[in-house]
Amino acid sequence: MKRLILLGVLAFGVLASAADITWMSTQFTPIAEGEFVRSQILAPFAEETGISVDLLNVEYAEFASRIEAEYQAGAGEVAVLCGLHGDLAPFAYALADVSGITPGGTISPTLMAKGQMAGKHVYIPLMQATYLMVVNVKALAYLPVGANIWALTYDDLLAWAKNIYEATGEQKLGIPAGPKSLLHRFIHGYLYPSFTGYQVLAFDSAAAVDMWNYMQELWQYVSPAAPTWDAMDTPLLSEEVWVAWDHTARVKEAIVQRPNDFIAIPSPAGPAGRGFISVLAGLAIPETSPNPEAAAKLIEYLTSPEVQVKILQGVGFFPAVAEASGAVPAGALQILAKGVSAQAASPDAIVCFIPGGIPDEYKKIYKDTFYKFVIQGQPVDLEFLRAQATRMRELYLKAGAPYPAPDGK
């Protein structure tokens, strides 16, 4: 019996290594997603090129230790990697320069530049998720003169919300500020970088004071029910709000139900630029990759517009490739994809990454400040901002974590 098991294990080992290359990924970990990638994306690739790929789904801890171990050993099994920017960035030293690889479609220079570190090009963007604005077409009639809907500024947004209020008597701007909302993302990844240029470093700057004063003014036109909302799809559908900001996944349902009534547009720009968060996943090749040529072919294939659209449909992540946005079938996903790629391609973009490696308490620091100055409407108080900034710095200091982009350069 023991011998049988041993044989079985050996046979399995042989079968498993029968694939030409191994693709280790922290993404597509839900079983359904993994299955989708294997059958709908990797199987056609094997047919097309004759290269069979074994997708290895792992948690971050295993991902990290395996990259490190193979690098130390100077030889490895893993040919290609897929991870979030934050998964890959710490291993820049162990990753090969991929600047020689031509992606299957056009990737905007802003996105592409994110893979630039340690003097080389470490990864090629694969897919992204973000937060943006969704607008009911009824609101377009009140757009301030001269404002470009695809390149709004925060001043435009204020004038727009004011116009709507004066015309309808209702506060139709929506920002999710409920207990389980993603309000903290709006503050650290949108407001702060747009007004101050940083997520953390300028927390208590003069520009931050201006920003909080601006928010107090804007808040007059934000629906008073905002502190009860966790996601904006429902208030958009009930038309309690016409203009809303939220994560793509949290507004998608509104567009799916009424695709003709909504458009998705980039978030506004402030004095420092257009700050927005990119949840960016990329493809990298370890220095120790046993088959860099096949790996490069896989990367070209995965960044081709057709495959990018498949990923959007099967996994819900948006394309990194410009041509793919046009190739998304009409409907809700196309409306969202158009907004996502317009935002990513903004010339004044300040791409922000989500802080990592620090306790989640940082969310509370952003939210509490918002709660005090904006929701409670207390006067903007520099002393309080300084105290909160100190708390924030302590979190990073204690954890020894780097500041996220755009701060940590």
Binding site: E170, P179, A225, P227, E240, P359, D360, K364, Q376
Partner: protein, 294 residues
């Protein structure tokens, strides 16, 4: 005596030990599922990586929302509990007269008991929300020109009253059930004697029924006050972040900001307040017999 019994008897010791053996399963249950977590929670609040510390309590008190949470927790408790008890007492007295259909009414009154508090919060949310039932009705009747925002920071009193209404609807039933049981335990003899001596109506309620109902009132008050201090789901559903409460802050620290230490500090504070309130009730609401006994 059967031999098996004999053996068991030897094993268990004398008869005087038997009650303790019988209590053992319950004690183990309470120990494992109540005392151990309690001990763990308390130690989480006081011990960090570097040993004993009051930092978590300092963090709790210096929290921007702490005093708001404390204020609203007490405001809700002192508003809701008396309302609960007064309404439940009225309902129980009416039901206790035993008129035709009183049994049916008892079940109707007790319905909210079967509804989870978050579900109750959501039911009331559908009433008070901007496009909810209340606004629809008021608008249809021409009473309001445009929907009113009941649940908003600008109308914090409306928000407060909405939560009070929802909690009152949800929690009165449990008090009523306790009081109905208490009323049914009052011997008919006392009531008849009172009537013979000429006590009717309010007099009978005030001088006979209420004093006899004191033990039930006491337990109802203790239960309701403790639960009112822990009110959280209804507040969360209706008011979101508008009216923070202590139990909600504990939840957020645990699940949103992932700091079990500060969450436990909040929990310990709530426990201390609950124990203090219970002591107050036990001290000042003792029935005559208890007072006589000492």
């Amino acid at each position: 005596m059967f031999p098996v019994n004999e053996r068991l008897r030897k094993l268990l010791g004398t008869d005087s030990l038997l009650p303790y053996w019988l209590l053992l399963p319950t004690l183990i249950f309470i120990g494992v599922f109540f005392l151990m977590p309690l001990f763990k929670a308390v130690s989480l609040a006081f011990y960090g990586d570097t040993g004993f510390t009051l930092d978590y309590f300092k963090k709790m008190v210096s929290d921007v929302r702490f005093f708001d949470a404390l204020k609203f927790t007490f405001l809700f408790a002192v508003t809701i509990v008396p309302l609960n008890v007064a309404t439940a007492l009225a309902m129980a007295l009416v039901l206790n007269t035993g008129f035709r259909g009183s049994r049916f009414l008892l079940y109707i009154f007790a319905l909210p008991l079967g509804i989870a508090d978050l579900a109750a919060g959501l039911i009331w949310l559908s009433i008070f929300t901007h496009r909810g039932f209340l606004n629809s009705i008021l608008y249809a009747l021409g009473i309001v020109e445009r929907p009113i925002h009941y649940l908003s920071y600008q109308n914090i009193n409306y928000t407060f009253l909405s939560v009070v209404a929802a909690e009152h609807w949800r929690a009165t039933a449990i008090v009523m059930v306790i009081l109905v049981a208490g009323l049914q335990m009052i011997s008919r003899d006392y009531l008849e004697a009172a009537e013979v001596l000429g006590a009717r109506g309010w007099k009978k309620i005030w001088y006979v029924i209420l004093p006899l109902l004191k033990p039930s009132l006491q337990s109802a008050l203790i239960i309701r006050t403790i639960f009112a201090l822990q009110t959280f789901a209804v507040v969360l559903a209706l008011a979101g972040q508008i009216t923070p409460v202590l139990a909600g802050e504990a939840y957020f620290w645990q699940f949103l900001y992932r700091n079990s230490h500060v969450a436990s500090a909040y929990a310990v504070l709530l426990m201390v307040i609950s124990i203090a309130m219970t002591w107050v009730y036990l001290r000042y609401l003792r029935s005559k017999t208890e007072v006589m006994r000492g």
